[in-house]
């Protein structure tokens, strides 16, 4: 029983991915023991009609999710009337979380609009999935180079919004920063494991971050799903930590809402 809090549906804009058809992807998830997957949409990264992206995502999860997929809508606070996207995610689609991509959407974590977004999601009790990057910055399309989200002001943002449940996604560089242990102590902050690297990555990650704050995330189908799964073979975590990271922590996070 595994909850994957970091997958995407639809198509990556720059190339087709082997599992970017929902039914095929869901089958692969089920074959690998994924019982629940929080799905964002690749379309949310670049599309401006976010309301349509989220409606399509919700429908796709409902029609082809086989009970596995839970939609996580995109919110872009640089768009006019973004608050209504938050409302629709919650009220129309019954979403439990939203995804934000500050680097692709053009704002920084210390911009006032980010504070406004965080203040607003609390009223809807939505989890915020902060995506720090989508792909290795060295391999971006040459006409569209998007830096990884600057995390310098993240500790202050977290400090100002202790009621926002925040998941840091695709967080490889963040986890190597000196502010990691400081951030990890905050009750409302969680980390996905999709970008945990080095040999025995999870053993090292659990030395820096309490295992209760780690969530199974694969970044599939952009990444091979097996990359996240095999981390549990490479690190010897024991049953308690494994269960917590693969399932228990996500379940608790949802129930805290």
């Amino acid at each position: 029983m595994i909850t994957d809090i970091n997958i995407n549906l639809s198509q990556w804009p720059f190339r087709r991915l082997p599992l970017d058809e929902t039914s095929k992807f869901v089958a692969r998830l089920q074959q690998n023991g994924i019982t629940q997957a929080w799905a964002g949409s690749f379309d949310g990264v670049l599309h401006r009609d976010v309301a349509e992206v989220n409606a399509r995502l919700a429908a796709e999860c409902r029609l082809h999710g086989e009970g596995v997929l839970i939609p996580s809508g995109t919110v872009n606070p640089m768009l006019p009337d973004w608050r209504d996207d938050v409302r629709r995610c919650h009220e129309q689609h019954g979403m439990r979380s939203i995804r934000i991509n500050p680097n692709y959407h053009g704002y920084k974590l210390d911009d006032p609009v980010c504070d406004q977004l965080f203040q607003h999601v609390v009223t809807h009790k939505l989890i915020v999935q902060l995506v720090l990057k989508m792909e290795d910055v060295r391999t971006h399309f040459p006409l569209m180079m998007v830096p990884t989200v600057d995390m310098t002001s993240l500790p202050d943002l977290i400090q100002r919004h202790p009621d926002v449940r925040l998941i840091l996604m695709n967080n490889y560089s963040t986890l190597r920063s000196e502010t990691l242990s400081k951030i990890a102590q905050k009750e409302n902050v969680y980390f996905d494991i999709s970008h945990a690297e080095q040999v025995g990555a999870l053993e090292k990650m659990t030395n820096s971050v309490p295992y209760t704050k780690l969530l199974f995330g694969s970044h599939a189908p952009f990444f091979y799903l097996e990359a996240a799964l095999l981390k549990f073979k490479e690190s010897e975590l024991g049953e308690t930590m494994t269960h917590a990271i693969q399932f228990g922590n996500a379940e608790r996070l949802l129930n805290e809402q």
């Binding site: 290795d136 391999t139 040999v199 990555a201 091979y224 990359a227 073979k233 010897e236």
Partner: protein, 260 residues
């Protein structure tokens, strides 16, 4: 059977190289990696002097000395110093236990000054691992691209050469070396982006694709996933995970009397 093309002594604690390789082999055991290639020691040196690359090779020689049939060494050389590199090739490979060479980011491999090293590797049947990247922000001044490697390969059609990292941007890297049949690609040391191995098998054939991890900076998990997760045949996976590297190294291992 898994033979891993690409490993370093980073990512684990240990005051000595012996301590580090022992820890790394614990992870190899967990992941079913039977053979592990190591190159370079520490600290990193992107443009090593002869003294520096000799010192780093000494570290590798020490590390593999207790793992004769399990760990293989490639000699770290620098094309800026052809005479000294040739001498190091003789010390580590011709007269020593190493079975290949590693060329990193100090010197573009398209430069003909590197040819004596490549020719001698061909005579010794030593594997050649040339790092390549295609960074959209621009490579380092001496950092080779897959296109540089293709130029090198055309000058030495009878020598097998490995295109390290496949340029990172494998969608371009695979195309850059596709026409050079003596070039294989190393798939390690990049994010586990889906579709990589499928494209490589489609465009090059599985026989030209070699698994490697780039531990300890990378994990076995993320790099093995590129093969385990790929939509290719089981036979192709076996080639990529070990049979291709074994085939490449067999002549020199036989010459050194190493059990396979």
């Amino acid at each position: 059977m898994i033979w891993d093309l690409h490993g370093h002594f980073s990512g684990v604690d240990g005051a000595t190289v012996d301590e580090r390789i022992a820890k790394l082999m614990e992870y190899a055991d967990r992941m079913g990696v039977e053979r592990q290639v190591f190159f370079m020691g520490w600290p990193w040196s992107q443009d090593p002097t002869p003294e520096e690359f000799r010192k780093q090779n000494d570290q590798v020689l020490q590390a593999i000395s207790h793992w004769h049939d399990r760990a293989f060494g490639f000699a770290y050389l620098n094309g800026k110093y052809p005479a000294e590199s040739l001498a190091e090739l003789e010390r580590c490979v011709a007269d020593g236990p190493m079975v290949g060479v590693k060329l990193w980011v100090s010197f573009k491999c398209s430069d003909q000054k590197i040819d004596p090293i490549i020719e001698r590797c061909g005579e010794l049947k030593a594997a050649i691992y040339q790092h390549t990247w295609l960074k959209v922000q621009g490579n380092r001044p001496g950092e080779s691209t897959p296109a540089d490697l293709a130029i090198l390969a055309r000058r030495h059609p009878d020598v097998s050469i490995i295109c390290g990292h496949t340029g990172g941007d494998w969608t371009r890297g695979i195309r850059a070396v596709r026409a050079e049949p003596n070039v294989s690609i190393g798939i390690g040391g990049s994010e586990p982006t889906a579709g990589f191995v499928e494209m490589a098998v489609r465009e090059l054939g599985a026989e030209r694709v070699i698994y490697g991890s780039d531990i300890g900076g990378r994990s076995y998990a993320s790099q093995l996933a590129k093969v385990y997760g790929a939509d290719i045949s089981e036979a192709d996976k076996e080639l990529i995970l070990g049979l291709n590297l074994k085939r490449m190294l067999t002549p020199i291992l036989n010459a050194k009397g190493v059990k396979r």
